[in-house]
């Protein structure tokens, strides 16, 4: 098993594309065969498709590399697949409007909500699926956990409105963009690779001032990611300091105050 096979070479791939040809290696089939053992496969396919795939892949070897891997500090996998994914992805692909009913945070249910679905989003940290959709009644973007959706059905939307809805969603998403700057405290520069890894799940760029030895991490994030960003910053403790982002700074100050309070105040 060598992921660097020459058949994967970019020139071959691009020539095959031009010719409209395919190259499907046994490595890829073996990977799939192994991964079809995951219980998620049952929600991902109809029983007929799954059994067809298993038959087609029968002659392949499995990849047993999983035997040597230990996964640590992982969130429990609440769900890898949700039964609604197949339905919803087709609605998104076909630009269909939806009528959705879902449970809300504080108990109770919202029913008959009309909207337009945008994307299915998996939160790697919470290990959970969300539907991002535009609510035509509330004129706002919504993010609803798939497990909270009670029902969803097609709701006709005039074809001429679709481009307008898409443009509106793009504008709303644009409006949710935020940015912040986090400085690495130079005494921790030896841990730079760890610190940058901790931010590598964000869209970010890094700047470095050679004279002062200071690294600044510029993070671009969506407004609803700010809780996660803050938890990453708390995770790193004294190693980093927010230098731009007033809201985030105030939150860190408040957290520090409250944490000190938990331990009996400043005199402790």
């Amino acid at each position: 098993m060598n992921p660097f096979e020459k058949i994967f070479n970019f020139q071959i791939i691009s020539r095959l594309d031009e010719a409209g040809s395919l190259a499907l290696t046994s490595q890829e089939r073996s990977w799939l065969k192994t991964m079809l053992r995951h219980p998620a496969s049952e929600a991902a396919f109809t029983p007929e498709t799954l059994s067809k795939l298993n038959t087609l892949l029968e002659p392949e070897a499995s990849i047993e590399v999983g035997e040597i891997i230990m996964e640590k500090a992982r969130s429990k996998e609440r769900q890898v697949y949700h039964p609604l994914l197949r339905t919803l992805r087709r609605m998104i692909m076909q630009n269909q409007g939806i009528l959705i009913a879902y449970q809300i945070k504080h108990g109770g249910e919202r029913t008959d909500q009309a909207g337009f679905p945008h994307k299915l989003e998996y939160n790697m940290y919470k290990r959970e699926w969300y539907l991002q959709w535009y609510s035509t009644r509330q004129r706002s973007l919504m993010s609803t956990k798939l497990r909270n959706i009670v029902s969803v059905e097609v709701f006709p939307i005039p074809a001429k409105r679709i481009d307008d809805l898409k443009a509106r969603i793009a504008r709303l998403l644009d409006g949710l963009k935020e940015s912040a700057c986090v400085q690495v405290i130079p005494t921790f520069n030896a841990e730079l690779s760890r610190i940058l890894s901790a931010f590598s799940c964000f869209d970010k760029s890094v700047s470095f001032d050679e004279a002062s030895g200071i690294y600044q991490i510029h993070v671009n994030y969506m407004r609803d990611d700010s809780e996660f960003l803050l938890s990453r910053i708390r995770f790193l403790g004294l190693r980093v300091k927010i230098t731009q982002g007033e809201q985030l700074k105030r939150r860190m100050l408040k957290t520090a105050d409250m944490a000190i309070e938990r331990y009996g105040g400043m005199c402790n």
Binding site: F8, L24, E28, M70, A73, Y125, V206, F208, Y215, F235
Partner: protein
């Protein structure tokens, strides 16, 4: 491309994706331990690859590779670093020939002779015509990697492309397959082969008339993309473990400034090697979900259990095998030591006791949910309406500490007392970072 060259490209891409934009050419080259000339050459090669692979890339994005790595971050689930695995160098004639052969076999069964004739007709005029031996060699390779198969038992053998997995599926089934591969490659490890398959399926869907947007319905938030770079070493290590062989490598500690040391053939550019050559019996690899990083863990003749960050491993070579008994004994000992590791720490176990505070607002108890989901083998006990207790025996506190700290004021350390004191001191110091605002 030589093995060493891959080490360089992995390091190069990792630095580009982690510290994108931070360094000037000279600084970047210094940190990788290469010359500016090599830096330019590597960057040129990578850019060329990107340009060929991503023809739809907007022109203004195509200029800087570090910018390109950020491109589409929130819009696409395409793993941008996958192209490392497409970097193996190849002669142009070979890539033309292999494409011709594969294309000829897509829908028809053909013999080596048929294919040789076909190549003679279709190879560009300035390329050398392939002889029979070359064609047979190509077919042997394509059969080995499984992209074609032999359809009959007797000579002359006929071949065809091994595309059944795709050809036998209806459009709707293929869409389900694409989604499954997309989800699994993004959420599970290992994933490189899954991402390669995803690329292929994406093309098939387009060929069958699906809109390009049809393959962009899923997104993955907080994904560690650079994790796939370390999968480059995974199969080498797996092979060695299967054969119970030791491995030798040059380890470049990511904590030191330099990430890559070239095997110098030109004495003019000779540098002192910054790494340490080491030899261990590999036992396991650990994937840390908190940072998306990999570790190699093995047994070292003098030092016992030793851990290495995968990203520091270069020039891996297989060494002598050991007896099965020795391997089993070392593995058993390791598993016992790792039992209480938050990640990889094998030092003495400490009992940590923590009080968690439920959120004051009504509704979902996201603190409790997070502790239940991420607290590994720790035990939760009820305390009051507003609090619960969490206890865990864990090897040292260094690895669990960031996780506990990430809960902010919702977490109060009870035991050990010295850890409680550390938290108090740290929160006071953190407060001083922000008190002037």
């Amino acid at each position: 491309m030589a093995k060493e060259s891959f080490d360089k490209e992995i390091q190069f891409l990792r630095m580009l994706s982690l510290a994108g934009g931070a360094y000037s050419r000279q600084q970047f080259a210094d940190r990788l331990g290469i010359s500016v000339h090599t830096y330019d050459k590597t960057l040129r090669n990578l850019k060329e690859m990107v340009t060929v692979l991503q023809q739809d890339l907007p022109a203004e994005q195509g200029t800087e590779l570090s910018e390109w790595l950020r491109y589409n971050y929130y819009e696409s689930a395409d793993p941008l670093l996958l192209f490392l695995f497409r970097a193996k160098s190849l002669k142009e004639t070979e890539s033309i020939r292999l494409t011709l052969l594969l294309t000829a076999l897509q829908t028809q069964e053909r013999t080596a002779k048929d294919l040789q004739d076909l190549c003679s007709e279709q190879m560009p005029a300035d390329s050398p015509l392939p002889d029979e031996k070359t064609i047979r060699g190509d077919l042997k390779y394509l059969e080995e990697v499984g992209v074609i198969l032999r359809v009959n038992e007797r000579r002359p053998y006929r071949y065809k492309a091994a595309n059944d997995l795709i050809d036998q599926l209806t459009d709707d089934q293929l869409l389900d397959l694409y989604d499954y591969v997309d989800v699994i490659a993004n959420t599970q490890i290992p994933s490189v082969q899954g991402y390669l398959l995803r690329d292929t399926l994406k093309k098939v869907l387009r060929k069958r008339g699906f809109n390009p947007e049809a393959t962009e319905t899923h997104r993955y938030k907080y994904n560690y993309h650079s994790r796939i770079l370390d999968e480059a070493h995974l199969y080498t290590i797996f092979g060695a473990i299967q054969q119970r062989r030791r491995i030798r490598f040059l380890y470049l500690s990511p904590k030191k400034g330099m990430n890559y040391t070239s095997q110098n053939t030109n004495p003019l550019f000779e540098r002192e090697s910054a790494g340490i050559t080491d030899s261990i019996l590999p036992l396991r690899v650990v994937y840390d979900h908190q940072y998306g990083r990999w570790y190699l863990i093995g047994h070292h003749a003098r030092m016992g259990i030793k851990k290495f960050r995968m990203e520091g491993l270069t020039q891996i070579e297989e060494g002598e095998p050991v007896e099965e008994e020795e391997y089993a004994e070392k593995l058993k000992a390791l598993e016992a030591q790792l039992k209480n590791s938050w990640v990889t720490d094998t030092n003495r176990a400490v009992k940590v006791a923590v009080r968690f505070y439920n959120p004051s607002r009504s509704g979902a108890n996201f603190i409790r949910e997070r502790v239940e989901a991420q607290g590994q083998w720790g035990v939760i006990t009820e305390e009051s309406d507003s609090t619960f207790l969490y206890e865990i025996e864990v090897n040292e506190i260094y690895e669990i500490k960031p996780w506990l700290r990430s809960f902010g004021s919702s977490c109060e350390i009870l035991e050990p007392r010295w850890l409680r004191k550390q938290f108090i001191a740290e929160w006071k110091e953190l407060r001083s970072y922000y008190e002037s605002i």
